[in-house]
């Protein structure tokens, strides 16, 4: 579906209609634009300003559950996609935030959502996104001998930047 479908509100199949309209109204008020929708889920592009407050409201007021966060290195910067499930209404909102250029910083949500700790640490390891406010930003998934400042899931990554030591050295 094209991004223009935002104006005509159509409820994704299988989703509770009343809840969805209420949720969509709140998202649009926060400046979100629906990019596409499928059965029981939709993708929104959300402005970065005030996003954390919006996410907190979705979780605490709307009864959402943060399934996970996805990080993608795209042409214009780094994208974070927060997947929020509303189980009772059978709906998943995928909220996409663009961190432009090399300003890879996103406010940490771990202080009020402890379950996000490992997610943010993994994204920091693999994509180099900084999460100011994170209580324990340490290495999580990469090996101990991995060089600092090399992020394997960035598009510019070359294996030569992080050659493993020879088999005799380890």
């Amino acid at each position: 579906m094209s991004p223009e479908t935002t104006t005509a509100v159509e409820v994704p199949a299988g989703t509770d209609r009343e809840f969805f309209l209420e949720l969509e109204e709140r998202l649009v008020r926060a400046g979100a634009v629906r990019e596409c929708a499928a059965r029981r889920q939709a993708m929104y592009r959300v402005p970065r300003e005030g996003f954390v407050a919006l996410l907190r409201e979705l979780i605490e007021t709307f009864g959402g559950r943060l399934a996970t966060v996805t990080g993608v290195d795209v042409r214009d910067g780094t994208e974070l996609i927060y997947h929020v499930c509303f189980d009772r209404a059978r709906f998943t909102a995928n909220l996409k935030i663009l961190l432009p250029g090399s300003a890879d910083q996103m406010e940490s949500i771990t202080p009020w959502l402890p379950g996000a700790e490992f997610i943010e640490r993994e994204i920091h390891d693999l994509l180099g996104v900084d999460f100011p406010g994170h209580p324990r930003m340490e290495r999580l998934v990469l090996s101990d001998d991995w060089p600092e400042g090399v992020y394997p899931l960035r598009r510019g990554f070359r294996k030569e930047d992080a050659r493993p030591p020879s088999v005799e050295e380890t």
Binding site: L142, S143, D144, D145, W146, P152, F157, K159, A162, P164, V167, E168, T170
Partner: protein, 164 residues
Amino acid sequence: MSWRLWTLRKSLFVYHANVGACNNCDIEIVELLTPAYDVERFGIVLVGSPRHADALLVTGVCTRQAEPRLKELYRATAKPCVVVCVGSCALAQGVFADGYHVGHPVDEVIRSVDPEAIIAYVPGCPPKPEAMILGVVKVWQKLAELGRARPAPAVQPAVGVSTT
């Protein structure tokens, strides 16, 4: 050496090392122990410490993090120790070859510690339990060969000693 190799032909104590497997090979190894195959009838027992092991059963592509640990495991085993690589990953890194998290192939890692190590390979993704049993049988055949090729033990077992 030959009598020490000969001891391995009896009950084989196995230590299982997962150095980055997806758990599929490990499930097949569990299958080996369950009543369907029940390798304990051949005397093959899983043990909880490399110190007790006659054989090191390695599954998984050896990750960078696991590489020094695998070396340490091999050093900790009593020698002679047979290494059995199970699954495509342990053999040749499988689909993970060239990944950023991958170290060196398992056999290279073992050989860097002990160039003389006896290494068996069981291919498959995951290998069938029958294939693993075949792998162990081949290890036993190889050990018998090596045992014959080496000189007989200096001390012959005493004959005619009463056991009462």
